[in-house]
Symmetry: C2
């Protein structure tokens, strides 16, 4: 199987195409998907029929369905939007004159080959093709088996559109089986980055089965800390939004930490609002006592072991008290998945201490954790959300698909002429 | 063993120290190493005696030896130099107003916990302590067993110096055994980055035994490509420096690619210069023919299988012809270790095509590969050289030890008010 090797070879060709050549290829893909809409939706219908016959969950069928109003056009518009973004390649981030006629530049460039593994959503193929080509990367795509017909029809349109452009044929390749993926995950020499898009299980399984760097997040264990001086109404509004706006989202909160001095003053308002929204509160013994006259019996439970390391993904929240901002930082750094954590406080200095002390990709003051999202951050395109500690964190835009290289332009200089390598010349090191 | 967990805890504390607090701790370490010089050099003598008795290679003994003129003072000066660098933490790289009173910033911050594994050089402990604390990271250090006495003496001085500062005690920890390292390499929850500093074997072994990201390079298979229009004198000077200035260096070249039209015009000058420098040329059959009247018999050999994937690390170079710049790019991208590659040409357009097409961390035009080095690039401090494709590439300065987090400051905003999450407000997304 030469898929990965072919992708690596294509990435070499992609690296020297111009921004226009890459962006025009995106528009060709968009046009081909528009022209083949009927065939693609027919293929999609086969997948939908099979999914309904197999009684797959309605949430999965919804993700599969390309026929819902506006979805197909949004997919096409998404490609055009990516084509219109600034070129992420060729940006100079450092320029130093090492010596006369010896100029160093750090220039952004594609990473190389990315492997993207996703589940039901067939439109991801269009989205990833756009992001990969825009950033000059070759991509290998593996979709879920439920969307195989849709996926194949879209892939055929993409492949034939690219054949008429300067993009090499193996720049976008599709693989269908799990065995293919297992083999690809071993090819550290040819694949530079793996991006899993799907369930926690998919992401954890992939993280545990490859030494290739993985961009993504398995868990989203996010917290809100309510300081003693928090405004009760603001705290209630933020906590309810962060918990209930989309509880299955990775940026929903799972934990509420309350300063001990806010238990009688701020927590009641928050707890009533959570109860009004139908959220089950799992409380430590002291909080259970404080809440039992405020929260209806059916919505108040005792917290259990593991609650503070759990992603509920539903209308449940675990809550406990802490004695200080520092204690909140310690609790969160020990339990969070480094995704997004929030402080609600009137104190700017407490807020800044919290923002600087929390070891997570996104740290918010007086705003809902749900803002942790590429669209809301204004990135134009989202590659995914990363809880890694290196390369790219949080919502990742096109920048996450580029790296840099050092380009040095000389006029015959050799190291041996300079101090430290046998010579006597000194470097000038003039930063521009 | 709680080493990694303790380091993680310390990193939380380090994250909120000020730049002055971190830099002052470096100066305290420098002063303690100056004050304890006699004790440390005595301990170093024990290591040196043991190494000589065990007949260890002289290169290793040289690396162990802290008593050679200027070495100890250079170590102290190195710490002061790092202390004086700009603070890498807290730099704002993106600022966007998402909406009125909802301000997003991307701010640089420490990565967290780094594990540094090194071999004989005991002064690395001072160097890494300085780099880690300057960038706000906790570090776990494992030195080679040959330097255990030196290492322990330096560590004692560092630990007692830090005890008088705001740096938490477990910010710098030392481990002595291989078993400790094996256990640490499994702790993906607590350790964010592994930096091996030593032989190719050390680096490959570590890369193959952990899922924690590794910053470093196992091989340095670098190439020079001589274009048809290259100036013979310049080409000879660069190739000889790149090969012979320090053949054991990772930035020395192992391969010489010659444009077929340069074989009769440029190669003879290069080959004579290489022969004068005592370099053995391993040539493909056609080049062997072309060179046999120029290069003395004892310095000319037939190339063997694997020569173009080999890091000779001595006075040997493999050479072959290519038909074009594109063919040179293909050959290098297939065989190089993505470290540093060089083109020698008079053509700016050929040079730019080469620089953009080569998939390596450093790409040079008319300059020796030996310039790929943190000191020569003007970085002030070098963490290491990376051949990874993500996060940090090439010579890595302090920037390689920081990442960023998104800090969002609001005034009670919730996602549910905005388009896409149930509301009707639009984002402003004003970039600053």
């Amino acid at each position: 199987m030469d898929i990965a090797k072919d992708a690596r070879f294509a990435s070499t060709k992609l690296k020297i195409l111009s921004a226009d050549e890459r962006s025009n290829a995106l528009l060709a893909v968009r046009d081909a998907l528009a022209a083949n809409k009927d065939a693609i939706l027919e293929a999609n219908k086969l997948d939908l029929d099979a999914a309904r016959q197999a009684d797959l969950p309605s949430s999965l069928i919804k993700r599969l369905d390309l026929t819902s109003p506006g979805k197909y056009d949004a997919m096409l518009q998404g490609i055009a939007d990516v084509a219109a973004l600034d070129d992420p390649v060729g940006k100079v981030s450092l320029r130093t004159t090492l010596d006369d006629g010896l100029e160093l530049q750090r220039v952004s460039c594609p990473i190389g080959v990315i492997l993207v593994i996703f589940e039901a959503r067939p439109e991801v193929i269009a989205n990833i093709t756009a992001l990969a080509l825009k950033s000059g990367n070759a991509a290998i795509l593996k979709g879920g088996k439920e969307s195989l017909n849709s996926f194949t029809a879209i892939a055929d349109a993409v492949t034939s559109a690219l054949a008429a452009t300067k993009i090499p044929a193996s720049a976008i390749q599709l693989v269908a089986t799990r065995a293919d993926v297992a083999s690809l995950l071993d090819q550290t020499d040819y694949i530079d980055l793996v991006i899993p898009r799907g369930s926690n299980k998919l992401v954890s399984d992939i993280k545990n089965s490859t030494r290739i760097p993985v961009l993504g997040h398995a868990d989203g264990i996010c917290s809100a800390f309510v300081n003693a001086d928090a405004d009760p109404e603001m705290a209630a509004k933020i906590v309810v939004d962060a918990k209930t706006n989309y509880p299955a989202g990775c940026n929903a909160i799972e934990q509420l930490l309350v300063h001990k001095d806010a238990v009688k003053t701020v927590l009641p308002t928050i707890a009533s609002s959570l109860a009004d929204a139908g959220v089950v509160i799992k409380a430590t013994p002291e909080l259970f006592e404080a809440l039992k006259d405020i929260v209806p019996e059916n919505l108040l439970k005792h917290s259990e072991e593991g609650d503070f390391d759990c992603e509920f993904l539903n209308f449940t929240i675990a809550t406990t008290t802490v004695g200080s901002v520092e204690a909140a930082i310690e609790h969160i750094n020990a339990h969070s998945s480094k995704h997004t954590d929030v402080i609600i406080t009137a104190s700017e200095s407490d807020a800044q201490r919290f923002l600087n002390g929390i070891d997570s990709a996104s740290v918010f003051w007086n705003a809902s954790s749900r803002f942790a999202d590429g669209f809301r951050f204004g990135f134009g395109a989202e590659v995914g959300i990363s809880t890694s500690k290196i390369h790219s964190r949080g919502p990742v835009g096109l920048e996450g698909l580029v790296i840099y290289q050092y380009q040095l332009k000389g006029s015959g200089q050799v190291a041996g002429s300079y101090i430290g390598a046998g010579g006597s010349k000194a470097f000038k090191h003039i930063q521009h």
